[in-house]
Symmetry: C2
Subunit: 176 residues, 2 copies
């Protein structure tokens, strides 16, 4: 997950825009158009990347390396011109890969209230590099872990537990 301006500096496209630009040449892209996402009007997916030092890119260690290095790259290139930033991105990462980059809405929680915007808003309020990682915590039976169980997991592992509504409330105050 990355803030909109940072994604623009790295020239990262929304994949749906890229697909719609080439759908004449690739009719399958038009057939597969993601116009029915139950929780959203537009997919926030950009490219899927692997760090060039990963092997398959699939293991937890590989994914962790990709995510960590991507945040470092964005921090390091944020004040560089776009052309240089893209070059440095390409030196370290390849695509296609296993980590999908999601681009936050430009106006963050004022525009969309997805996990991407929640994470990036939180980072912005904290004054940190606007790159975060999202993961679904799985419960038994193949579904997401219920909230109460996620809370217990957080307590047990000494992690911060925040709900979307907490972040939205803080954001409203902060962005006044």
């Amino acid at each position: 997950m990355i803030a909109h301006p940072a994604a623009q500096n790295l020239q990262l496209p929304f994949l749906t825009d890229l697909f719609s630009n080439v759908s004449t040449e690739y009719p399958v892209l038009e057939a597969l158009v993601a116009n029915d996402i139950p929780y959203d009007t537009k997919s926030s997916f950009s490219l899927y990347i692997n760090h060039r030092k990963t092997y398959t890119g699939i293991t937890d260690n590989d994914r962790s390396l990709t995510m960590k290095k991507f945040a470092e790259l964005v921090k390091r290139t944020k004040d560089k011109d776009s052309k240089t930033a893209v070059k440095e991105l390409g030196k370290e990462f390849r695509s296609p890969g296993h980590i999908p980059i999601c681009i936050a809405s430009e106006k963050l929680l004022n525009e969309r209230k997805g996990h991407t915007e929640l994470v990036i808003s939180l980072l912005e309020m904290a004054g940190l590099t606007p790159v975060g990682s999202g993961c679904e915590i799985m419960g038994e039976h193949g579904k997401a872990l219920p909230k109460e169980d996620a809370k217990k997991y957080a307590e047990k592992n000494n992690l911060m537990f925040l709900e979307g509504n907490d972040i939205i409330k803080a954001w409203k105050q902060w962005s006044k």
Copy 2:
């Protein structure tokens, strides 16, 4: 993972080919070119899909639905003309999504000995629809589960354990 002819009927592109076709318009794609995969000369990635009946597409249940329905779709459309097959694919699936489709080499194990070809060769020898799923079994410490541990896991869960070399040996005999 899907056999090459089945992917062609569905007009599924290699993502690297698609990217290289539009890299003038999207310079970031050229920067990110996947020309240094440690185990391969060319990425076998095609599009990433979700079944339209998934919610996020992320949970095990959602991924399982996408994979199962994709295999059923390929089975159902294999003798239909390409245009109809693409239309039926698009009715059921959207892209971008969370399940990357990998396309096997045309000559399977005679050309490349990756997991994609191992799985599709096995299905072909068994006379089954040439669509399989691959997953990395994770061990502790974020790496893939060592072979001996995977063997124990298979025994405990009453699963078949096969090594790549077993499949290659059988393939050589079968394809004579």
